[in-house]
Symmetry: C2
Subunit: 139 residues, 2 copies
């Protein structure tokens, strides 16, 4: 019996925004992500430092049946958390204040991590986390 195949990690994380340009400007200018071309009118893509990819889709275009890639598309606010390096929460907090972007909440986790929560222009809940919010092992 061959061992069960297992994913290594998440390669693409998706969010939805009707105004892709506004959302893309936020992820590029506020969060400092590197844009990738290739989605065209379908949305915007960004490469993270660890090799992962963030995708922002225009939900109606992404949900069009018969696309070359299987269709999808959700309405309503989603959620993503980005890992930031040590000192990243303080650095981002200063940056967000300068940009007049509201920090909706700040949470210190029992596992030692610390999170800031903001909203992207589409209303998605964006978390910036330093350290861990989940136990290391399963259970």
């Amino acid at each position: 019996l061959t061992p069960k195949p297992r994913p290594l990690g998440v390669y693409e994380t998706s969010l939805y925004a009707s105004d892709v340009a506004a959302a893309a400007a936020f992820y590029e200018q506020v969060l400092g992500l590197d844009p990738l071309s290739g989605l065209g009118e379908l949305g915007a893509a960004f490469r993270l430092q660890d090799g992962g990819v963030l995708l922002i889709f225009e939900p109606e275009q992404a949900a069009t049946p018969g696309r070359p890639i299987p269709s999808h598309g959700a309405a309503g606010p989603g959620h993503v958390a980005f890992a930031v390096p040590a000192g990243g929460c303080d650095a981002f907090a200063g940056d967000l204040r300068r940009l007049d972007i509201e920090i909706e909440r700040e949470i210190n986790w029992p596992e030692g991590g610390r999170s800031l929560y903001i909203r992207d222009p589409a209303g998605n809940s964006v978390e910036l986390i330093e350290g861990e919010a989940w136990p290391r092992a399963g259970g």
Copy 2:
């Protein structure tokens, strides 16, 4: 001037499923992800091998205003791609056939990667990718 803070990677990726138990069974049993406790009735959480976390939220509970953590919740199919190791697509394809789970599409990317697309029980588009679908550098 301090350098602009930047995220290292995605820490939490979120999907939504009205039937959390069915979705959780899929991610644990079909994809082999390690469950994490802690979300309770709000949903299910899984740790990936690279330290990232997949969250499955019950959308109405997650959207309830006034939660300790900022609310969110989307309706309609989302999309996630999981990186699999070399040989992972063939290994998963065999596994999926045995489990009678339809492979909706298979794509070979110009960048050298190869993807299988399936659906989770909530209709989310789940991609298993070996190699790259995006150019290495930005642009």
